[in-house]
């Protein structure tokens, strides 16, 4: 299955939770915000929200800025 991850196509074997997706990407969940199909996912819901085929996911963090 395929998702759109930060604007790019991304292959996943099967649907998985946001927690599992972040682990797979080696991203510390405490440092990011996640948007799933344009809905912001609260951190305490990362384990229950499932990313499926065709979904759009945005993962953002803080970078240098003024």
């Amino acid at each position: 299955m395929q998702i759109t991850l930060n604007g790019d196509r991304f292959e996943l074997e099967e649907p998985m939770s946001v927690t599992a997706l972040l682990a797979r990407l080696e991203i510390d969940p405490r440092r990011v915000a996640v948007e799933h199909n344009l809905n912001i996912i609260k951190r305490h819901r990362f384990a229950e929200v499932v990313v499926g085929d065709g979904d759009t996911v945005e993962i953002v963090n803080f970078v240098g800025g003024g």
């Binding site: 930060n6 790019d8 991203i27 440092r31 915000a33 945005e58 803080f62 240098g64 003024g66």
Partner: protein, 259 residues
Amino acid sequence: MTDTPFVIAGRTFTSRLIVGTGKYSSHAVMTQAHEASGADMVTVAVRRVNISDRTRESLLDYIDTSRMFILPNTAGCYTADEAIRTARLGREAGLSEWVKLEVIGDERTLFPDNEALIEATRVLVKEGFIVLPYTNDDPIACRKLEDAGAAAVMPLGAPIGSGLGIQNVNNIRIIREFLRVPLIVDAGVGTASDAALAMELGADAVLMNTAIAGAEDPVAMADAMRHAVIAGRLAYRAGRIPRKMYASASSPVEGMVGR
């Protein structure tokens, strides 16, 4: 002379200098500059995580978040919707309701789109955000932002990153009179005297990034800015002398030898 504390939305800051985290040659230099600046609030941007390269260090590893308050911005947003979306993401990433709200209207000048900015301010305030909008040095726009619920209003001194200093001194003075919420001069500072001038005009604080990060010695410039903001604030509170056309002698005119 004891100063009144610098308070935004009930939160007290020890420093009246707010600094950015962009454009530094390295994270280590940034950390040193932050220390030298004495600031206890820093701005950050909200951007997509680089998925293909996970080796990059996290900015937050270089910010002492026990001492520094993190203010996420919506830099690079050109519509109210974009800025609102970014603000919401920033809130989740940082777990605070505060946002430096930017809605840019033009790529070359990075001047704000005031209409969209006021609209976005209204929406975010309703959602419980503490909104600090970056705006033009336009007193009417500043007043409208305060009416829309902004916790502080942040007019530019000059275009972002230009280093031109305060271009419209009189407007900043008028904005000072118009506002009840804190006035923060944001953008345009080039060197220490610009920061001091902003404070002398009555700004409650100054926000800058490039002036420090882009200096030949960012750590020394951060130190200079710290002093400038303190000096400018003291001078504002001390009450300057009126400007006069002609001289007025400092030494007594009586008792001159041989007269």
